[in-house]
């Protein structure tokens, strides 16, 4: 199987993820979209690593996973805090930080 297909899959997953972030109001769903984009990026890193026969991309992917895990912890904590404060997790609801 041609590894370029994985790159195309990664592009599709990235597009789905970004659509989720842009279009859904639910913070959890948007968050899932972010995770999807991260993993799409991981997938393309691993694919390029395979294509070029080098190990750098795979190493980078591990880094991304670790950072993503940390980000999930922080992100979910924020969402819970927002929910506790406002009884909602709609992304459009909190907009106090406008100029």
């Amino acid at each position: 199987m041609d590894p370029i297909n994985f790159v195309i899959l990664a592009a599709i997953l990235f597009a789905i993820g970004s659509a989720a972030v842009l279009l859904r109001r639910n913070a959890i769903i948007a968050f899932m979209g972010v995770e999807l984009m991260l993993n799409a990026a991981n997938l393309s890193l691993v694919s390029f690593s395979r294509i070029h026969g080098e190990i750098d991309g795979q190493v980078m992917a591990f880094f991304v996973m670790v950072v993503a895990a940390a980000e999930v912890v922080v992100g979910l904590a924020i969402i819970i805090a927002v929910f506790r404060a406002r009884q909602t997790i709609s992304l459009d609801e909190p907009s106090e930080l406008k100029g």
Binding site: S18, V21, L22, L91, S95, L97, G99
Partner: protein, 626 residues
């Protein structure tokens, strides 16, 4: 002693500082410290003078190195003193007349609560003046130059609780600043074109420099001299400077400080040697001022202001002589010395009269004082004869030489300069006789509460000594051209030049004019009754009473346009510079207002912005092949 000349500056300076810091506890003895400090300068000066007399004339220029002052690349300047016959003449004049005036002041200022401060300022003046004349570079001279300016300012405004006195001090200070700018520019030009500001290098380089450079330096030095010596067009401060206590007028505004300009010109002889145009300008300024001062002096009723106008006129003579070049240098300094004696003597006499007349200065309220103040009358009379130029009194020997020298030359110049000097002699005779007769002769016009009496010995003794100097100094120094020979190492040897008119004719003409002036003054002010208030007078007299409208002219020519200029600049600053900055800030503010709207707090719109940005970056990367 020559190597100890630094004491001349250090001792009065130290005394001045002590007196300023000591506070009220110095009141009982402070003035004696001042007198002692001034007296010590005369003793040191005299010692150095005697030592100098023992040397050959070529070896009489003695350099005293003090310390390395400005060690800096291009400009390497040492602070040092130059003791030569010219500076020695000044040292003796300043320290001798200065000491006499210190003694006089002890009595004159007896009832002033701030007498010690007065002596501190006087000492400061002596130190600065001696630094001025002893400095071996223009920059060190400038330090003394500013020092005497400061002392003059402090002393004119000594009674600064009177607003007009404080204003007079400020006026003197400001007008002097204009002259100082001249000196600063001159030093800048010297450094730029001659590479140094010390006398030795500048005078060595001067002959090789271009005429234009030397003329520029000469004219800026003339500006400096005009400021300090109250010459036209910077003469306006001297009359008002009479606000200071009379001993100050005698010392600073008659005998010493105001002659610093003449010293500067004579000291800069090698520069003027290469700049005939600047030299002519010096002579022209001197000739003009000597007539101007004499005309003002003819109309003044205030005894001190009349003497101030006379000082201006006499310094005009010195400037005229200094502007004649090597022919006149020695006579300029000679007249400076004799003038220092007779004018200081007359100022002290005026102070003595004021002392006895409850500080009255209006000569129309004097009259017949010869009976009440015999010593003052006689000493003042000797000064009067000296300034008139009656032989054998001092002024004759110096002023007559200047008139003779002014008539040396070719073309129209000797006739103009000589004519001015000759007319000036006649005018001088008139206004000084007017002053003398109004004060000491005629009928008593005293107010009822005035009981004129002779001043104490502490005041009369200095007057007597100065009067003796006024009487005989000129003769002593003139015999065998002694003074000119003494100054020769500085001014150079000059062959005798014949004036365009024979000398006996000139002497006779001068004496006839002087006699005429005295006669007219006697008819109008000696024999006739003098009205107690100034009568209505012709336009020319009104002009002279108002100092030839010098203040109005200054106001119209300098102050008004200056004010308008600064106002225009302020307006331009607000309308152009400030406005540009304001408009720019406003524009940035508006941009901020607009851009602010994109910051709407909506997370998803931020995400969209980021995505769009990312896409743009990708397009650029892919298309540009970065």
């Amino acid at each position: 002693m020559l190597d100890l000349t630094w004491l001349l500056i250090a001792v009065p300076l130290a005394s001045s500082i002590v007196l300023m810091l000591a506070g009220k506890r110095a009141n009982p003895w402070g003035h004696w410290v001042g007198v002692a400090a001034s007296g010590s300068t005369f003793i040191v000066g005299l010692g150095a003078f005697i030592q100098m007399l023992g040397l050959d004339s070529e070896e009489r220029a003695h350099a005293v190195h003090l310390f390395s002052w400005i060690p800096g690349g291009e400009l390497n300047l040492d602070a040092g003193l130059l003791v030569d016959p010219l500076s020695m003449t000044f040292v003796l004049l300043v320290s001798f007349v200065g000491t006499l005036i210190h003694v006089y002041s002890v009595a004159y200022m007896e009832h002033d609560p701030n007498r010690r401060i007065f002596f501190a300022y006087l000492n400061l003046f002596v130190a600065a003046m001696l630094l001025l004349v002893l400095a071996d570079s223009y920059l060190l001279l400038f330090v003394g130059w500013e020092g005497v300016g400061l002392a003059s300012y402090l002393l004119i405004g000594f009674w600064n609780y009177k607003p007009e006195y404080a204003t007079a001090a400020k006026k003197a200070f400001v007008v002097n600043r204009i002259g100082d700018i001249g000196l600063i520019i001159a030093m800048g030009l010297m450094f730029a074109y001659l590479g140094a500001v010390d006398f030795e290098t500048v005078f060595a380089e001067a002959p090789a420099a271009s005429t234009a450079t030397l003329t520029a330096i000469g004219l800026t030095l003339l500006l400096a001299a005009c400021g300090k010596s109250a010459q036209f067009p910077l003469q306006s401060w001297l009359g008002d400077a009479m606000a200071g206590p009379t001993p100050v007028s005698a010392l600073i505004h008659a005998a010493t400080m105001v002659t610093a300009g003449v010293y500067l010109i004579v000291r800069s002889a090698p520069i003027y040697a290469g700049a005939p145009a600047a030299q002519t300008a010096v002579a022209a300024v001197g000739a003009f001022t000597l007539v101007l001062g004499a005309l003002i002096g003819m109309a003044k009723d205030d005894i001190k202001k009349a003497l101030a106008a006379s000082t201006m006129s006499q310094i005009g003579y010195m400037m005229l002589a200094a502007g004649l070049g090597p022919v006149g240098y020695a006579f300029a300094i000679f007249h400076l010395v004799t003038h220092g004696f007779f004018k200081a003597g007359m100022f002290l006499g005026a102070g003595s009269v004021m002392h006895g007349m409850k500080d009255q200065v209006d000569m129309r309220r004097y009259g017949a004082l010869r009976t009440a103040m015999v010593t003052t009358w006689i000493t003042f009379g000797l000064g009067w004869l000296a300034i008139l130029g009656i032989p054998p009194f001092s002024g004759f020997w110096s002023k007559d030489k200047i008139i003779e020298s002014a008539f040396v030359g070719e073309g129209a110049q000797p006739w103009i300069l000589g004519g001015a000097a000759l007319i000036g002699a006649g005018l001088t005779a008139f206004y000084m006789s007017r002053l003398f007769f109004m004060t000491f002769h005629g009928k008593a016009r005293w107010t009822d509460d005035q009981h004129p009496h002779e001043s104490p010995a502490m005041m009369t003794v200095p007057m007597i000594i100065l009067a003796v100097g006024s009487a005989f100094l000129g003769l002593i120094l003139a015999v065998g051209d002694r003074f000119a020979v003494w100054l020769e190492p500085v001014t150079g040897h000059v062959e005798h030049h014949e004036p365009v008119l024979p000398v006996p004719v000139l002497i006779a003409a001068t004496l006839i004019l002087v006699a005429l002036g005295v006669w007219v003054a006697w008819r109008k002010y000696g024999a006739a009754d003098v009205p107690e208030t100034a009568p209505a007078a012709s336009l020319s007299t009104i002009a002279a009473r108002n100092d030839m409208f010098q203040d109005s002219v200054n106001r119209a020519v300098f102050e008004r346009p200056g004010t308008h200029l600064t106002r225009t600049l302020v307006y331009a600053d607000a309308a152009i510079v400030d406005a540009a900055v304001d408009k720019q800030a406003e524009a940035w503010g508006k941009t901020g207002e607009t851009v602010r709207r994109t910051q709407n707090g909506q997370v998803r719109s931020y995400a969209l912005t980021m995505l769009v940005g990312l896409v743009i970056v990708i397009i650029i990367v892919v298309q540009g092949g970065l």
